[in-house]
């Protein structure tokens, strides 16, 4: 029975991933055709429907995985990243509904796809829990934190959308900031391509990029990281060549597509997403984490790198809210803060696990 449950849950999770990819494509078609009335609207509606079904399928898949493995489906990198992708899409669907925005998906859905593709790079099999995770807090702390992070990620998507929209207006975005936006978009696109294609190759069993570090770098097995770095460098080269030969920029390509959106609405969308996600993040990543730490280790705070970075992320968004609400930082400045906030979240969820050793380092690749 458990075997059937596990493989069914795996099937549903893959279906959800496919649904998110289809939703992303539909959102992009919708944005491209936004001015052409019917096709744009139909595409956008189909995208929303696809996103909602994806979320529903994902939820069922998570439940089934939870039942078959006997614990909350957030115990290792594969499960947690998948849950975060679910949280991003759930946040997107809810905020889309609240604010009747259907272009937000054009940036938020690919972010969820990126996260879920990254999840697929890790081993899928459900493993029983190590002693530290054998607690009901796994259901409460990790899921709430992931939900908060998902909604904050939607805020990132809205802010990026804001910046892209404002790029067409020379009075809004110019000089260094315009270049910064261009490099941000380039980084996002390259990261998206690398992770998605790596996940695809992984799934198809192609070991093209599973290179180990060369001897002069130590010759160790790096779990494909070295191959991915080479791939990134190659793509950066492609981008540079494209820039030189076509004379265009990514911003120049994307910005005209979103001109029908209103800057003030995008600004408010980004702020409201962060305002909704911030209390959830505080509850999940700080309060519940402290309660669990007290019960497990006897101390509610030990400055473990993961805890420390959760606090840093919290402080970052606290500064964002103060700058926005008390110092009048709206528009561009707030958007840049929200975009950089995503980098902080990425470090919290991925960087800390792999770059810093600590209590939370059990989420290692291959573990």
């Amino acid at each position: 029975m458990k075997g059937i449950e596990l493989s069914s849950s795996q099937f549903l999770l893959s279906m959800a991933f496919a649904a998110y990819i289809v939703a992303t494509v539909l959102y992009w078609i919708g944005t491209l055709n936004a001015e052409r009335g019917l096709m744009g609207k139909a595409s956008q509606r189909a995208a929303t429907l696809c996103a909602m079904s994806g979320v529903a399928i994902h939820a069922v898949g998570l439940l089934m995985r939870g039942f078959s493995s006997g614990h909350a489906p957030v115990s290792d990198m594969y499960e947690f990243m998948g849950f975060w992708a679910f949280a991003i899409m759930l946040g997107l669907v809810l905020i889309e509904r609240l604010y009747q925005s259907s272009t937000l998906g054009a940036f938020a859905a690919p972010t969820a796809v990126f996260v879920m593709a990254y999840a697929n790079l890790f081993p899928h099999q459900a493993k029983p829990l190590i002693p530290a995770l054998q607690s009901y807090w796994l259901y409460i702390h990790v899921t709430t934190a992931a939900l908060g992070e998902g909604v904050l990620t939607v805020g990132f998507a809205a802010a990026l959308l804001y910046l892209v929209r404002s790029a067409s207006d020379p009075s809004q975005l110019f000089g260094g900031r315009l270049r910064a936006l261009e490099y941000t978009l380039a980084t996002a696109l390259i990261a998206f391509v690398v992770v998605l294609s790596s996940a695809g190759m992984h799934a198809l069993g192609i070991t093209l990029l599973d290179w180990n570090a060369p001897l002069w770098l130590g010759g160790r097995s790096t779990g494909g990281v070295f191959g991915a770095l080479v791939y990134c460098t190659f793509l950066i080269g492609c981008y540079a060549v494209w820039r030189v030969y076509s004379g265009r920029t990514l911003t120049g390509l994307v910005s005209p597509l979103v001109q029908q959106l209103r800057l003030r609405d995008l600004d408010e969308l980004s702020y409201r997403s962060i305002a909704i996600g911030y209390p959830i993040f505080t509850l999940g990543a700080i309060v519940f984490a402290m309660l669990w730490a007290q019960e497990a280790w006897g101390s509610y705070w030990s400055w473990d790198p993961k805890e420390t970075w959760a606090l840093i992320t919290w402080l970052y968004y606290t500064v964002y809210l103060h700058l926005r609400l008390s110092r009048g930082w709206q528009g561009n400045r707030a958007a840049w803060l929200a975009v950089s906030g995503f980098a902080v979240i990425l470090f919290l969820l991925i960087g800390v696990n792999f770059l810093i050793v600590g209590l939370h380092a059990y989420a290692l690749p291959g573990a």
Binding site: A34, Q44, Y99, Q100, S101, S102, T103, L104, K127, P128, I130, P131, A132, Q134, S135, Q260, L261, R262, D265, L266, E268, L269, R272, A275, I276, P279, T282, L283, I286, V287, M290, L291, Q294, E295, A296, W297, G298, S299, Y300, S302, W303, D304, P305, T308, W309, L311, I312, L315, Y316, T318, V319, H322, L323, S326, R327, V352, V357, G358, L359, A367
Partner: protein
């Protein structure tokens, strides 16, 4: 004489810019600290200075001497936390009074000029019962009403304005709870390294703990499955109870909590081997090896002697080298030679104490070594903790969560109405938000069945287009 300095300091801490600087400094300091392994994460019982030097070299030693390895208890960091406490206090103190006053004395009656100047304002036809219907509609939509002559005001969500200050108060309680540990007697936190069958007393308390046994089991892939300590709690030398302490299941007794913190590897004390003649099956005798204090040779009366050629307390094969990784007998392996009486050269053999079934028997060996008995023990590391401040911290967190709910999940909005001649002028004003107000106002009008005649600068049709 006015204390200019004190006043300037007060004003500094009342500013939000200062608060932002303090918050950012804490974040940056914390980030730096997270990249350097801190002292509270190094193995138990090891001298920090020695540890950092041996593990990270002179770079590590300089980090230690600069104080970067106890970043979070350094005076710099503690000053930042104190500054945060001051900022929270002064900022809130300065602003709560005026906020309460302004909310309580906010005008009910607004002029027509004010109402029409709002981004979201409408003019509706006024009939005999319009104002009553409006008041009823506002009440249905959960607005608190106030009237002044021909003016009406509906207010909703005023509590959300207090939200930020509730958060600040909550955080002040949290910081106070965390700092309570400096008061004597309110905080105790120690690691108890208890070898098997030993008892450790917690200083300045009537408690002692005895490690009856530590058990650990593993999954097939090598990850830990479960581990726990079977412990006896003694109060003033008398047995109070026997408990199983494991992660997520601490022992709580009389204000103290005992947690399963970690454990040391299992160590072997001694092993007893019997020598048998492989061909005849006769037993030659026994040899008891004290793994902490090995002799050079062990005579077997009447038959010969066992020579210890090499001893690896913690045997591991690293690359293609055989070596001992640790000085403690964790995986003791001995290279021995049995020399019979009268002979100069004997038989070589290897003893794997932790793996008694592994026997190296060369074709020419006559004597077999069988492990008869072995003694080992595993030291557990428990943590005794007592913090009177921790309930305070959690209460503070609860208060902050309430404040977060008030600030972000409730919104303060007002609807002003002014009756003049045959029109009713209305406007909706939201505190720091605009989206959704128009829908709110149109819903109120719909409930009150009031028909709008004129629209403000930002009319409804335009907002309907909203965000695509």
């Amino acid at each position: 004489m006015r204390l200019r300095g004190a006043e300037a300091l007060w004003r500094l801490f009342a500013s939000v810019k200062t608060a932002i600087v303090i918050l950012s400094s804490i974040a940056l300091t914390a980030a730096l600290g997270s990249s350097i392994p801190q002292e509270n994460a190094i193995p138990v019982g090891v001298d920090p200075a020695a540890y950092y030097f041996t593990t990270y070299g002179s770079f590590g030693a300089s980090m230690y001497h600069m104080g970067l390895t106890h970043m979070y208890t350094s005076s710099w960091f503690l000053s930042l936390l104190t500054a945060l406490f001051a900022s929270l206090t002064v900022c809130s103190w300065e602003r709560i009074g005026p906020l309460v006053t302004s909310l309580r004395t906010a005008p009910v009656r607004r002029s027509r000029a004010y109402i029409c100047a709002q981004p979201l304002s409408v003019r509706v036809a006024r009939r005999a019962d319009s104002e009553l219907r409006l008041a009823a509609a506002l009440r249905t939509h959960k607005y608190t009403l106030a009237a002044e002559g021909s003016a009406l005001r509906g207010e909703r969500g005023r509590s959300s304005r207090y939200g930020p200050y509730v958060i600040h108060i909550g955080l002040l309680v949290v910081i106070a709870g965390a700092f309570m540990r400096v008061l004597p007697g309110l905080y105790k936190d120690l690691d108890l390294v208890i070898p098997e069958r030993a008892t450790v007393k917690i200083p300045e308390s009537p408690f002692s703990i005895r490690n009856n046994g530590f058990h650990i089991s593993y999954y097939a892939d090598g990850r830990a499955r479960s581990y726990e300590t079977n412990a006896t709690l003694l109060v003033r030398g008398e047995q109070q109870g026997v408990y199983a302490i494991r992660v997520n299941h601490p022992l709580q007794a009389k204000g103290y909590s005992f947690y399963q913190e970690s454990y040391l590897p299992r160590e072997y004390d001694w092993a007893l081997y019997r020598l048998t003649d492989h061909s005849s099956g006769a037993s030659l005798g026994q040899v008891r090896l004290n793994l902490r204090h090995l002799q050079k040779n062990y005579p077997i009366s009447g038959h010969g002697k066992v020579l210890i050629r090499a001893y690896y307390p913690d045997f591991q094969i690293v690359g293609d080298q055989v070596q001992s990784v640790d000085a403690r007998p964790i995986n003791p392996v001995l290279k021995i030679e049995y020399v019979p009486v009268g002979k100069r050269v004997g038989e070589a053999n290897w003893l794997f104490v932790a793996f008694p079934h592994v026997q190296l028997l060369k074709r020419e060996n006559v004597i077999a070594f069988t492990q008869v008995a072995v003694a080992s023990g595993q030291t557990t590391v428990l943590r005794a903790h007592r913090d009177a401040g921790s309930p305070v911290v959690f209460i503070g967190l609860g208060i902050s969560l309430v404040g977060l709910y008030l600030s972000f999940y409730r919104r303060h909005r007002l609807i002003y109405a002014l009756a003049q001649d045959d029109s009713l002028y209305l406007c909706a004003v939201g505190h720091k938000y605009v989206y959704g107000l128009d829908r709110e106002l149109s819903q109120v009008l719909k409930t009150a069945q009031l028909v709008q005649l004129q629209q403000g600068e930002e009319n409804f049709h335009e907002r309907d287009r909203i965000i695509q």
